[in-house]
């Protein structure tokens, strides 16, 4: 299984290639055509002061999805005793078809 290794916090010289710092003038050049082709997240700055962040729709949805995954995982870990017990049953092969548990769910 591939493991993500996050080096951003540990390497002071790390440059994130997915982020581009641009001036406000860059925003004026954006239109429907090139907005749809955005590959990098843009940090829009004025005199080295970050003002806004621009990213494409799919990137935003991916971020939102990751946040939801993290929050759902926290939720799952809160009910961990039940989950752990269920996993033990799974390992032991203690399984019953849904139709046997409740025939009305056939």
């Amino acid at each position: 299984m591939a493991m993500d290794v996050d080096v951003r916090g540990s390497l002071l010289f790390y440059i994130d290639p997915t982020v581009e710092h641009v001036g406000v003038s860059k925003v004026r050049q954006l239109n429907a055509s090139n907005l749809g082709k955005l590959k990098k997240m843009m940090v829009i700055q004025d005199n080295n002061t970050p003002l806004a962040v621009l990213l494409n729709y799919e990137q935003y949805l991916a971020m939102q999805g990751k946040l939801k995954e993290a929050l759902e995982t926290i939720h799952m870990l809160r009910s961990a005793p039940g989950v752990v017990e269920g996993l033990r049953d799974l390992k032991a092969g203690k399984l019953t078809p849904l139709e046997e548990v409740d025939p009305t769910l056939k």
Partner: protein, 138 residues
């Protein structure tokens, strides 16, 4: 056309969870005031039915990183945790439970409980909590 049906099986724990939810709903069937057990039962059934639908895979909510094989679906405060084997078209339901629908309330609960190791494990740095109360009652 090939009929691809999903077989849903429940672990002993999930079966006990489901039976408990059903019993609570059946015992409270005459209750005019507390509809919660009945709603919980109705939602649990709805989710279990949806798991049998092979076209509803897009509703699977994975956990993060190494736990991404664990999936969940929720309706209101009813949560169902399960795993899916796409080769055998089988869904194994691991656990059914009730939980908070307000995820930010949940985060606040964890932070204020001081048991933030879950957040740390996920790479989330919880905010420091002031030990002195800064609220002044007027």
């Amino acid at each position: 056309m090939i009929d691809v049906s999903v077989e849903v099986v429940l672990t002993d724990r999930a079966r006990a969870d489901y039976n408990g939810i059903r019993d609570a709903a059946m015992h409270g069937i005459d209750s005019k005031t507390n509809q919660a057990p009945h709603l919980h039962f109705h939602r649990a059934r709805s989710i279990l039915r949806s798991l049998k639908d092979p076209g509803s895979v897009n509703l699977d909510q994975p956990m993060i990183n190494n736990l991404s094989w664990m999936l969940s679906r929720s309706e209101g405060s009813t949560y169902v945790y399960y795993g899916r084997n796409t080769y055998t078209s089988t869904v194994v339901v691991i656990h059914l439970c009730e939980g908070t629908t307000d995820i930010y309330m949940l985060l606040a609960e964890i932070v204020f409980s001081g048991r933030t190791e879950i957040l740390t494990a996920l790479g989330i740095v919880p905010p420091p909590i002031s030990r002195t109360c800064s609220i002044t009652l007027q």
